[in-house]
Symmetry: C2
DNA sequence: GAGTGGTCTAGACCACGAC
DNA sequence: TCGTGGTCTAGACCACTCC
C-alpha cells in the first residue's frame, strides 16, 4: 500500500480515500490479511484518524473489510451465498443439511402488533421459536418464528421436555406435518438490536438484512418468520430449480463499469 | 422531545441516544416533520455533536430519518414495498404499470469480468441498457441490464433511432419476444457509486440493496440485470401469486419483542 | 505492557436551502 | 444573511487481544 498523497478533488476526502484503499486491498492484499493500522494509515494519507475511519466504515459496510478490536483490520472473505428462496430452506424438516439450530421458545399471548401481523385475535397464544442459522461453522442469521396456536390446532400434539429449546423443537416437529401452500417474502435493511447482535456475535447496530416470510397453509397465514442475516458476510440467493446454474456473480460486475 | 439526561450505562452513548430518539420520533413526531437540529439536540443531551450524529446515522440507516442539507432532519415515511419477484416486474413489456424507464444504452465488447458473468467469450458484443425504476414519482432503483449479442441472434432486428435511450428501447423490444424459462436472484448490501448515486438523487456512499438477476432462456443465460435499490426507502417484496394476501408487515414486529 | 480498534470531545469551516 | 446538515481536525481515553 503506497504512501500516496491525496490530490485536491471536489469529492469528499473520505470518499476518495475509500477508492484508493479499495484499489489497494484488491491488488496488494489477500483475504484475511491485516492491513496497516488506522494511526499509520491516517498519517500516511495526511488526514485525521476520524476521516480515515469514515473511509474504512464504507468498506466495512460493503463487506470488503473486517475490523477486530485488539487485532486489526482484515481483508474480508467474499460474501457467502445463502439460499433463502426454496421452501426447504426455511421450513422445519425440509433441507438435507441442518442449517437451522433451535435456541429457545417463548409462549405468550399475542400483543397488538403481533396479532395484526399474524391475522389472529389479540391475546391468542403464540409460540415464538428462536433459531440461528449456521453456514460453514459461522452464525449467519437469527430468526424468530411466530406460530399462532390456531395454526397448530389440527396437528397432533407432541410432548416436549419443557425446556426452552426442547419446547421449540416440539413446535417445529408439529409444523413439519403442516402443508405449506406458499410463502411470501420481503427483504429490507435493518440494524441488529442487542439480543440479535449477541447471537450474531456482532456489536449492536450491525447492519443486517431483515427477511420477513409469511407461510400460508390452507388459505390462511400459518406462521411468520422474521430473520436477520449478517449484511457484511451474506448474499441472499433466491434460486429457482431447473435453471442454468451459472457461477454465482460476485459484486465485481458492478464495479467493472 | 424531552430534555432527558443520559444515565450512566455500560452501552455506548450513541446507542443509548438512538434508543431514546427512536422512542421520541415514534411517539412525538409525525411523518415528514422536522426534528430539532443537531446542535440543539447535542446540547440537550449533553453530548458532542459527533456523538449525536452517530445516533442519527443509525436511525437514517434504518430508514427512520431523512437528513436534508440546508433544511433539517425529518421523520421518514415508512418504507415502500417494491415487488421484484414476479417475472413481469423485471422483464421488459411485462407489467401493467410502467415502472421502469430507459435512460441509455451502451454497446461494447465484453470485458473479462462481464464475459465470465454472462458465460460468453471475451470480446463478444454486449448491450448494456441502463434503466431507472420509479415508484410513486420517486426514483427507487437504477439497473444495468447486460444482454449478449448471441442471446438476441434469433430475434428479429428492430431499427432504432440511434440515440442512447432509443437504442436501449429497441433492445428491450427485441427481448420482449424472448421466452424466459426462469430467473435466479441474489440480494446483498452495497453502496452507491457516483453514477448510481446521481440517478438515485443521493450522495455517493448511500447504502443500497443490490439485486442481481440471471434470466435464462432455452437453457442458457440470456441476460444479467444488476439493480441497486435505495435501502433507506425500499422494502423488496418477493411475493407468490395465489396466496393469502395479508397486510404487508412493517418492521414493527421486530421491535415488538 | 504494547498495540489495536471503539468511543467521545470541542472546536472549525464548507455547501446548500430559505428568506 | 442565516440556519441547516456535511466534512474535517487533533486530540483523549477506553476495551480488547496478544505476548
Amino acid at each position: 500500500m503506497g504512501t500516496a498523497q491525496l490530490t485536491a478533488v471536489p469529492e469528499p476526502k473520505y470518499w476518495h480515500l475509500r477508492t484508493v484503499l479499495l484499489r489497494a486491498i484488491d491488488s496488494e492484499f489477500a483475504t484475511g490479511e491485516v492491513i496497516p493500522n488506522e494511526r499509520d494509515l491516517s498519517a500516511r494519507f495526511g488526514v485525521a484518524r476520524a476521516t480515515l475511519r469514515q473511509a474504512l466504515d464504507q468498506l466495512e459496510l460493503e463487506g470488503r473489510l473486517v475490523r477486530r478490536r485488539g487485532i486489526g483490520t482484515l481483508v474480508a472473505a467474499p460474501r457467502v451465498g445463502v439460499p433463502v428462496s426454496r421452501r426447504e430452506e426455511g421450513w422445519p424438516g425440509g433441507g438435507p443439511e441442518q442449517s437451522w439450530q433451535t435456541v429457545d421458545c417463548a409462549i405468550a399471548p399475542a400483543t397488538e402488533q403481533l396479532a395484526a401481523a399474524l391475522n389472529v385475535p389479540v391475546g391468542e397464544t403464540v409460540y415464538t421459536v428462536r433459531r440461528v442459522r449456521l453456514n460453514q461453522g459461522q452464525t449467519v442469521a437469527t430468526e424468530s418464528l411466530h406460530v399462532p396456536d390456531s395454526a397448530l390446532a389440527s396437528l397432533p400434539e407432541i410432548r416436549s421436555a419443557g425446556s426452552g429449546a426442547d419446547e421449540g423443537r416440539a413446535v417445529l416437529r408439529r409444523l413439519e406435518r403442516l402443508t405449506v401452500d406458499g410463502e411470501s417474502r420481503a427483504v429490507e435493511l435493518g440494524v441488529a438490536e442487542a439480543d440479535e447482535a449477541a447471537l450474531l456475535q456482532r456489536p449492536p447496530g450491525t447492519p443486517v438484512l431483515v427477511v420477513t416470510t409469511q407461510f400460508a397453509s390452507g388459505g390462511k397465514l400459518a406462521a411468520l418468520a422474521v430473520a436477520t442475516y449478517r449484511a457484511d458476510t451474506c448474499r441472499l440467493t433466491f434460486g429457482e430449480t431447473g435453471l442454468v446454474e451459472v457461477t454465482p456473480v460476485a459484486g465485481t460486475v458492478r464495479t467493472a463499469s
